[in-house]
């Protein structure tokens, strides 16, 4: 079983963000970065499959040299090798990214290509299914359960109020929702071994960006709320406000 896992380096979402002078990017000063939340789950799924069924996991990331840190983390968790598709800037357009990933993945002989359900920074969730489409591979998005046997897979995805089970032949592209498998922590041994594992750097051949960022802004503050009161005695006043002022009850 050969598994590719595409991971993204994203800012730590707990940080306070501010907008840069160009009004269309984040001010990078003071930001800390990490592997995207869902990408961690995808990598864990890939590692467990390779452990159970034999085979190897390759981690890929598109971006500037700083993504090598994220790739090394993937190697420390257990991936066998890493590929950086090098570009100074990661476009916001998922299709431009998918067009760079697809040729790299096409001839890799992968049985499974895994992505996180979405990157937590751009929050688009498009690169996985777009890459599948460009490769002509079956794809199940946002899966919460997976079984692979005899060259076929069964995956479950949660819908609003129900769940869909899908069957598909390999090779396939899957995007992974959280909760499917808790990402392991890299061991000290893993971290040491990662330094010696191969990390290949190739130029990214990005597609044309048809979706471009015009501006970024912090969301408007909600109008200041108010504390209606303390304890159960405040309930009648709350109810009155919801009925007559907010008009939502």
């Amino acid at each position: 079983m050969k598994v590719a896992v595409c991971i993204k380096r994203v800012p730590d979402m707990e940080m306070r963000f501010s907008i840069a002078g160009d009004r269309k990017s984040l001010d990078p000063s003071g930001l800390k970065y990490e592997m995207g939340d869902f990408d961690g789950y995808a990598l864990e799924v890939g590692l467990q499959l390779a452990e159970k069924q034999g085979g190897e996991v390759v981690v890929l990331s598109l971006g500037p040299d700083a993504v090598q840190e994220t790739l090394r983390k993937g190697l420390a968790m257990g991936a066998a090798r890493a590929v950086q598709l090098k570009t100074d800037e990661v476009p916001f357009d998922g299709l431009a990214i998918a067009q760079a990933l697809a040729p790299e993945l096409k001839d890799g002989g992968y049985d499974l290509i895994l992505f996180g359900r979405m990157a937590t920074d751009s929050a688009n969730g498009t690169v996985g299914p777009m890459t599948a489409e460009l490769l002509g591979l079956p794809c199940v998005t946002a899966i919460s359960h997976l079984e692979i046997a005899d060259g076929r897979g069964t995956a479950r995805r949660e819908l609003e109020g129900s769940a869909e089970t899908m069957e598909f032949p390999l090779p396939a592209v899957l995007t992974i929702d959280e909760g499917i498998a808790r990402p392991r922590l890299a061991s000290l041994k893993g971290i040491m071994a990662a330094k010696k594992k191969p990390l290949e750097v190739k130029p990214a051949q990005l597609g044309e960006a048809r979706l471009v960022v015009e501006s970024m802004a912090l969301p408007p503050d909600r109008p200041p709320g108010r504390i209606v009161g303390e304890g159960a005695d405040a309930v009648p006043e709350l109810l009155r406000l919801l009925q007559t002022e907010a008009k939502v009850l």
């Binding site: 916001f92 498009t126 079956p138 048809r210 802004a217 969301p219």
Partner: protein, 329 residues
């Protein structure tokens, strides 16, 4: 003006609320930029054509019906081929999808098939000449990105609840269309569609959500939240990640960056402190009420109305008062 296309999502032969929102958004976008027809696209199993007239009520001039027994369940490949074919041949300015589980699966495939732009999880938009401008919350909702989509058709998926479905009645023409690929040729098949819970109202469909956090202390205390939702009627129950991680509620109830993103008219947060990850999923609610014992909890910074105190006293009282108020009417 060239037409715009709205994908009308259905499940088990019924239109979903997001279908009406998608058609409404397409109607408003067209009317706000020189007019032009709205075409709704409805795919499903036997009997789905009966749902077409309702799309006319929400502003569709034409409903393209793809009725095929094998499309009773969502089929990503057949849906992609068929919607892409229609967008390709119909000269559309834009294509609208819901940013639902199905829409977020379908729209990227269609965009890649056609090599056109797609903005995801959009909360506001404007058609401008031959490009589209869309707003999209990113970075766990902490940054609003304004995007320009170049080329036609530009595709957008709309955050559920960000548009209110409005009737703009007309008698829609009906056009039957065959699937652009045979369902028998699809590699991927939906083998099961399992309904969860007993007719529980879905978080994305509910205009009111009552949500609980760790402050409830134990799984069984969620009954307080359920009782409040039941007293309100037409309200859904949500939870924080801490609560779903602990198994007090199913993972599918989670509201937040890694769970559901919701925009109800009223969001009542019970025993929720307001972690970044949770706020990302509900900060676009129109009215937010917080009930929490800690007056410094971050939830009070974004709540319109707050009560500080013991939720085990406040919530039952609120449930009682609402029941009484409902009886008087």
């Amino acid at each position: 003006m060239p037409p715009v296309l709205a994908f009308a999502e259905s499940r088990k032969g019924e239109l979903r609320k997001v279908a009406l929102e998608t058609v409404t958004a397409a109607r408003q976008a067209a009317d706000g930029s020189g007019g032009g027809e709205v075409h709704a696209m409805l795919l499903g199993g036997q009997g789905i054509a009966e749902r077409a007239a309702e799309l006319g009520r929400y502003g569709a001039d034409l409903v393209i019906v793809v009725e095929e027994a094998a499309l009773q369940h969502y089929n990503p490949e057949v849906f992609t081929a068929t919607v892409a074919e229609r967008l390709r041949s119909g000269g559309y300015r834009a294509g609208f999808f819901p940013a639902s589980a199905q829409g977020r699966d379908l729209a990227p495939r269609v965009a890649a098939r056609l090599k056109v732009s797609l903005a995801s999880d959009v909360t506001g938009l404007e058609l401008q000449g031959d490009s589209v401008v869309a707003r999209h919350p990113a970075y766990t909702g902490k940054v609003i990105v304004t995007l320009r989509l170049k080329g036609t058709p530009a595709l957008l998926s709309l955050r559920p609840g960000s548009v209110t479905a409005v009737e703009q009645p007309r008698t829609a023409r009906i056009e039957k269309m065959a699937p652009a690929m045979s369902p028998a040729d699809a590699k991927l098949k939906v083998t099961e569609l399992a309904q969860r819970g007993a007719a529980q109202l879905d978080l994305g469909e509910a205009s009111i959500i009552v949500s609980g956090g760790r402050g409830l202390r134990a799984a069984e205390n969620f009954k307080l939240v359920e009782d409040l939702a039941a007293a309100i009627g037409n309200a859904a129950v949500g939870a924080t990640r801490a609560v779903t991680d602990d198994g007090w509620r199913p993972a599918t109830d989670q509201i937040g960056q890694t769970g559901r993103l919701v925009s109800p008219d009223l969001y009542i947060a019970v025993g929720i402190s307001g972690a970044v990850q949770h706020l990302a999923g509900m900060r676009t609610a129109k009215t937010i009420v917080a009930i929490n014992k800690d007056k410094d909890a971050p939830i009070f910074k974004i709540a319109d109305y707050g009560i500080v105190g013991d939720l085990f006293e406040i919530v039952p009282r609120l449930t009682d008062e609402i029941r009484k108020a409902r009886k008087d009417h």
